[in-house]
Symmetry: C2
């Protein structure tokens, strides 16, 4: 099976308030994920706060994670930065540490042109031989991939997948067809946006890049397996069990809610990188209620 | 006169392809600006590619600029980063190097709430006693300031100014009135977006945060003075002289065009940080034509 097929679980990167990795807490998160047997771990994705960490701390996080995982679960590493040279360096370092694949977001400050993004990906993919997944997330990167650019990029030999945001019109089948029409067989098309994953997978998407799987990997793995074999009933049951948390993702942003869930599960005192703030107490109480409802529904399986 | 009144000129930060400052080229740009006697220099703004430089290189740029300027022109330094702790450090460093003011952009990856941005500014303004200008530039920072947040922030003792993007409806008078209604006397309201500066200043804006002034400071200073004393005829003449360049700013982005202008003026071989690419040859030829037209019109004064 392709590296980019099935569930990719995105852990938080637990740090202190200065942005230094807490290896023991990362180990706890990774071991929970490994036990659930997802297709891959998406280290240093948006949920893993890659954009907020220094290059040194990102390198250290990859090194520590690789040592913890010891090859038990394939490791995909987010290497997006604002500079092409820095991204190339992070890609080489990730390869040296034993990563299995790369997630590449065209993080922008100045708005980038299609040609600039193409050259950026071309340069990175030429410098590092690992499989690359295009990270398409306009709300955080400020860049939107059109199908023509996806087509061009998919012709580069080691660009093998794309992570799409949920389609605005909810029509996964239509979008999957459009992307598959312009890409080769075997090019993997997956989605982030947890509340849309069930419909995406039932419509034939290849993968789910999951935020909640960073902390509740068993449920996410079960949902993925059910939906990928077309068991809509079971996929719906799991979707509904997780929905109370996903409603809060939409209300407060998944990043803040994940820190609240981590705190409720483990009480390790990790906080998002400021200026992003932990949820206020009343919102945290709502996360507690949602988490309890979800765990209770999951146990009734 | 307030630090944040009149023309603030925003130089490029000339670097090599690895993002290391070229001090000799910076000196050339700064001396040209100092000679024109603007109200201030806005070092490490968007035009100064602050977002693309390491923290060390940003510190070095401030140190080198302060040594070149020796107090001849007030120095405002952009200290925006994705992390509150890093921004506080850059603010302290800028103060130690002799900066006169700070420009603070709420750079975002995860979308920030109003409360998060308020706390970010509050923390920075409490840690560094220099005057702070709020940098409101939704297209690059991914955050939009509403008037309620501007009101709250303006009550912090050293937050003394805001740089606004051009109003979508072009109605400067209306927006200036709205902001002045919620801020104290003396709070400075200025604009970026060079092609709107003449109208902004004629409508009573306090300042112009100017991109073109980084390379053509004399014309920008003249335009500012004419518009601030209500000489619409002369302001219009200068606006029209500069307009060929501003049309290309709109078409290709001011950042890329500024590198082309710098190359035409000085031929120092500086390039924007990749993935941003230098303009292609046909676009560069159009910049050459526009620059020649502008310089010719300016000389006919």
């Amino acid at each position: 099976m392709s590296l980019f097929a099935g569930l990719s679980a995105f852990p938080l990167t637990p740090t202190d308030l200065k942005g230094r990795l807490k290896p023991d807490v990362l180990e706890k998160h990774l071991e929970r994920i490994v036990s659930a047997k997802p297709a891959s771990i998406g280290l240093l994705g948006s949920t893993g706060s890659y954009a907020y960490l220094t290059l040194e701390e990102r390198r250290r996080t990859v090194r520590v994670a690789a040592q913890i995982l010891r090859g038990r679960t394939p490791l995909i590493v987010g290497i997006g930065t604002l500079r092409t040279d820095q991204t190339v360096e992070l890609g080489k370092d990730a390869a040296n540490e034993g990563a299995d694949g790369l997630l590449l977001a065209p993080v922008s400050y100045q708005k980038l042109t299609d040609d600039e993004v193409y050259r950026h990906f071309e340069t990175v993919a030429a410098a590092v031989s690992l499989p690359v997944c295009i990270y398409n997330n306009p709300s955080t990167t400020n860049f939107t991939f059109g199908h023509a650019l996806i087509e061009r990029l998919s012709k580069l030999p080691n660009i093998l997948a794309i992570k799409m945001p949920l389609p605005a019109d909810g029509d996964f089948a239509d979008e999957l067809l459009a992307i598959r029409t312009v890409t080769a067989d075997g090019f993997s098309v997956g989605y982030s946006g947890d509340w849309g994953a069930k419909d995406a997978l039932l419509a034939g998407a290849d993968s789910w890049f999951s935020v909640i799987a960073g902390l509740l990997p068993d449920a996410a793995v079960q949902l993925t397996r059910a939906a990928m074999k077309g068991d809509a009933l079971e996929a719906n049951r799991l979707h509904q069990a997780l929905e109370p948390i996903w409603l809060l993702f939409k209300e407060f942003g998944s990043f803040r809610v994940m820190y609240a869930v981590a705190s409720l599960l483990d009480n390790d005192g990790i906080e998002p990188p400021h200026p992003v703030q932990p949820l206020a107490q009343n919102a945290t109480e709502r996360v507690r209620t949602a988490l309890e409802a979800t765990l209770s529904k999951l146990q009734k399986a």
